[in-house]
Amino acid sequence: MRIIGDLGPYCLTSEGLREGPCAREVEEHRDLGYGSFNFLYGPSAGGLLESVGFEIATYGESIERIGHVPYKGRQIKITQLPVEEALIRVERINGAFAASHSISFLQAVEKAFEAEVPYEVTVSRMAQLELERIRNNLFVIQRVLESASFLVPSYLLLQQVEEVNRTIARSCGHRYFFGANYPGRVECEHEVPSLKIGDVEKILENRIFIDRLQGNGVIKEDNSIGPAARASGFRYDARLDSDLFVYRDFDLKVPTQDHGDAFSRILVRLEEIKESLRILQELRVKPHTFPMRVRDGEGIGRVESPSGDLAYLVRIRNGRIERAFLLAPSSVNMRLFLRSMPGNIFTDFPFNWESFGIWISELEVDLK
């Protein structure tokens, strides 16, 4: 059993919910003494894709302690809404992970409705998740390259990100899967992006680039998820646990690395792109509808988003959402990031930060 993270008042593990929040070590705050001061990075800086603040305790250059200061603080109301309307909002919690969010949410709803999901729908959803993973992992690597001012490979990757976005648009009608999934319906056609992964791999031969990532932000923690866990040797992946998908039919390989640093996370993501592309080529996707009977109930949906486990706990009464909780992968990754940062210096920050693939939009969201 592994601990995944807090889902509302519960702790989600690989074997189901447990009462109360997940047990976690309490971090002791030693007094930093003379010469230390707090430095606020953010909320709106050129190096940050989204608005977020970081309070860094430092002696200058060094990062002794770091805390997250929320600025976006989004509030999205989905309770008391019918499933279709709630879904419109769930898609817009995190645009980059919209497929993961909507599929996980729909799975929770289907569990609550005790609906049977046809094989075609499951396969279509897998295709969406893999496309999203490819897009996001390419983008994460691009962000790291941009931080290092490696502009030629960075633009090369942006080109591939755009290529994936266009593929998604051709497949599902929208570049971010908005409106692709409905209760009882899925819209996507079969499309595979034509990517040049070889080009991406060659970037990682650059010694200067590798030096900025190796040994940066080492974190090896049992209670971790996604690429961060796999980069430190833990073979954790929601796709292996879940029986709602059929990854076993496709002989899913989960790449791992041992060092737990930013470089390992990038390597894991790169391997994942290749694996996702392979699975995508084997899947056969077409639009499909299936009947669903509305009833009262509660269910959990969990998928492997590009940055790790993403889960919804949804309770439905009279066809409306009574309560809903979200376990965003970014909240777990943010905790890991904050723990991995002390001991490094300011210039390490962007590389380590981007390597986790954290989205503030889903992290600072308050689902009402």
Partner: protein, 203 residues
């Protein structure tokens, strides 16, 4: 690895006409008569793209044309025709607008050929690109960024959340000189808007 040679070998990836068909978001047209239940009141007497989140709830009464959405440019400035520096400011977005804005620098679109660049501080910016709903503590940040910008300056509202709030919150309290509808707007419509805001011609 010689990136220079590699770049030459790759050839030109930039598209002369960067517009291409995307169903959602694109210009919608009424296909059938009937009552539509729109979550953002984008459909009244006529369809208002700046309120639309392209959720497909109006299908099949409305159908997408696949044509790039036309941005609303209320003010443009020829001063920026050679160089136009943007400072992106995320007020509380879902992240999709941020990503689409970044993609206008991808080789397919290549914003720099139109003299459009990103800058890391509003002090160097000609336009403030605001994305997303108004976040909890973002009001002061937006005001500060706008204050430190040198004149002349433009405010660009990117995406329905920043323009009218959409379904996820309220829009930031600032008037936009350029309004780019879409949820999120496609890179093509963003680029169209920027070119027109700097007083240029869309290819």
């Amino acid at each position: 690895m010689n990136w220079f040679l590699k770049g030459i070998r790759m050839g030109v990836r930039t598209e002369k006409d960067y517009h291409h068909e995307t169903k959602w978001p694109s210009r919608l047209k009424r296909a059938q008569e009937g009552e539509v239940k729109c979550p953002t009141d984008a459909i009244g007497e006529e369809w208002r793209p700046e309120r639309c989140i392209f959720c497909r709830a109006c299908e099949p009464l409305f159908s997408p044309t696949g044509e790039t959405l036309t941005p609303k440019v209320e003010r443009s400035d020829r001063t920026f025709r050679r160089s136009f520096y943007l400072y992106p400011l995320d007020a509380g977005s879902c992240g999709a607008c941020n990503l689409e804005l970044r993609l206008i620098s991808s080789p397919q679109y290549d914003m720099t050929r139109f003299g459009i660049f990103f800058t890391n501080t509003p002090k160097h910016a000609d336009a403030l690109v605001i994305m997303g709903n108004l976040g909890k503590r973002m009001e002061e940040v937006i005001r500060r960024a706008y204050d430190v910008m040198p004149s002349p300056k433009l405010v660009i509202l990117l995406g329905t959340c920043a323009i009218s709030g959409g379904v996820t919150g309220i829009p930031p309290d600032i008037r936009g000189d350029v309004i780019i509808p879409g949820c999120p707007p496609t890179p093509a419509s963003i680029l169209d808007a920027l070119i027109r805001a700097k007083g240029g011609e869309i290819p």
